[in-house]
């Protein structure tokens, strides 16, 4: 396993949000984390990248074992250097151009020489189709473009794994496709990804593996094909039913105007 999380627990005050979450990701896996809102998916992702401190648990990453309750700053920095995070709200640096957004982590954090950082950044921007916008500022871009730049920022540091937290949830429906397209391309290139998502199409067709979370625990973990063709638990089936109904409603909503009186 490239990354293994064992028995991760996290409480906010009295509220226990993660009640012992364990998952494993192999190199080259695209693992989708599904589950109803409030089930702790974001918190889990934030705990394994230390944006949130887990109450307890173990992380095995790259053959090294880390005790999350007693992890040092140096260990956190080491893990962060090999991972990347893509946020729901992109979180681009607003005072930096697209190119600077991507080079920042290389030049400042990794001390890569400027010219080399630029090369790498342009390379990453080309991979997400944003090279022409290198000199734009984030506010000049659409949400979908901003998210693609955020993905380039993640790619540029050559991470072993990229974490995505609902990367398309903040986007207008017509912009979701371009971001999912980029993610699919990365998956085809063999990038290891752990993706919290509500996009069933992505989970079904792109991800190799599905992790179903509910109420702070993992209820199901297995191959994507098996998950969708033969979900075991009652909660899983219920979740799939509501999601599929929602997707149908959405598509009927987007279709009606063409038949409407307007």
């Amino acid at each position: 396993m490239m990354l293994e999380a064992l028995d991760i627990k996290k409480s906010f005050g009295e509220l226990e949000v993660l009640k012992g979450v364990s998952i494993g990701v192999e190199k080259g896996d695209v693992a989708a984390i599904l589950g109803p809102s409030g089930s702790g998916k974001t918190t889990f992702l934030r705990c394994i990248n230390f944006l949130e401190r887990a109450s307890s648990g173990t992380l095995i990453f790259d053959g090294e074992t880390f005790d999350l309750a007693n992890i040092t700053k140096k260990q956190i920095a080491e893990i962060r250097r090999k991972t990347a995070f893509v946020f729901q709200n992109y979180n681009l640096f607003r005072n930096k151009t697209v190119l600077q957004n991507v080079t920042e982590g290389l030049i400042v954090a990794r001390k890569v020489p400027k010219a080399e950082a630029r090369e790498k950044a342009m390379d990453a921007l080309r991979r997400v189709g944003m090279a022409e916008k290198a000199d734009s500022y984030p506010h000049e871009l659409s949400g979908g473009q901003q998210q693609r730049v955020a993905i380039a920022r993640a790619l540029a540091t050559d991470p072993e794994i990229i974490f995505f937290d609902e990367p398309t949830s903040a986007l207008d429906p017509e912009l979701i496709g371009e971001v999912l397209g980029v993610m699919r391309k990365l998956a085809d290139e063999g990038m290891t990804m752990l993706v919290v998502t509500h996009e069933m199409g992505f989970a079904k067709n792109v991800s190799s593996k599905v992790i179903f979370m509910d109420g702070g625990v993992v209820l199901e973990e297995g191959s994507s094909a098996e998950f969708f063709s033969n979900p075991h638990g009652e909660r899983t089936r219920e979740f799939l039913r509501t999601i599929l109904e929602r997707d149908e409603e959405n598509s009927s909503v987007t279709e009606t105007p063409t038949e409407g009186k307007e």
Binding site: R94, N95, G105
Partner: protein
């Protein structure tokens, strides 16, 4: 005609004292106040224990008492403790400490306005907290704070006239001296008001220009 004559005779002296005292006092006090305000705002924003309480206390004192009283304490009061400070230095100390407190509040508000997600994104690309502060958060906060900080320069410039009460021959003190010789109080005080107005207008104009330049970027 007599009015013009009085005014044009007084003007060079006014401008001279403005150049030697009023303007440098404003600029130096502002520079120090800016430094203080960034430090004070940062320890509050970054939740540095103890320093944060000291910062609150400092702001509470500075904003809750008149600047004229503060000036008198520093210039007339401290010598009683054996601390004799000349009028120029006393003015700089008092005004930079006083305006620094107001500017710290401006800076803190501006820091809070920068979306926090960028800090997390900075961590995720491997930056340290202070790298993120210096390169991402502070530049954005400055842009937000800029109009407020410009107001502070204007306030400082006007406040320097208070230094006339501690024997500093700045522009207003000079005007009073001239007026006490020729008794032309109305003409001279209106004239000095107009000189202050000219300088503050200049500052406001420069502020507009700079703001426009900033807004061309991000």
């Amino acid at each position: 005609m007599k009015t013009w004559q009085i005014m044009s005779e007084a003007l060079p002296q006014m401008l001279k004292s403005a150049l030697i005292y009023t303007v440098p006092l404003t600029v130096i006090s502002f520079a120090i106040a800016l430094f203080i305000s960034i430090m004070i705002a940062l320890v509050q924003y970054s939740n540095v224990p103890v320093a944060k309480q000291i910062a609150r206390f400092y702001i509470w004192i500075m904003r809750g008492t008149p600047v004229l009283v503060q000036l008198f304490i520093v210039f007339y009061g401290l010598p009683k403790l054996g601390l004799v400070i000349n009028a120029y230095v006393a003015t700089v100390i008092t005004f930079s400490l006083n305006e620094g407190a107001y500017m710290a509040e401006t800076m803190r508000g501006a820091l809070e306005s920068v979306p926090k997600g960028q800090i997390e994104a900075g961590y995720c690309v491997g930056m340290t907290y202070w790298q993120i502060m210096r390169r991402i958060v502070l530049p954005q906060a400055f842009k937000v704070a800029f109009p407020g900080l410009s107001n502070s320069i204007v306030a400082l410039l006007k406040e320097t006239s208070l230094a006339s009460t501690i024997t500093l021959p700045e522009m207003f003190m000079e005007t009073k001296r001239i007026a006490s010789r020729n008794f032309e109080y109305l003409i001279l005080y209106v004239e000095v008001a107009l000189v202050y107005l000219a300088i503050t207008t200049l500052i406001t104009f420069a502020q507009r220009k700079l703001e426009k330049k900033f807004n061309k970027g991000y």
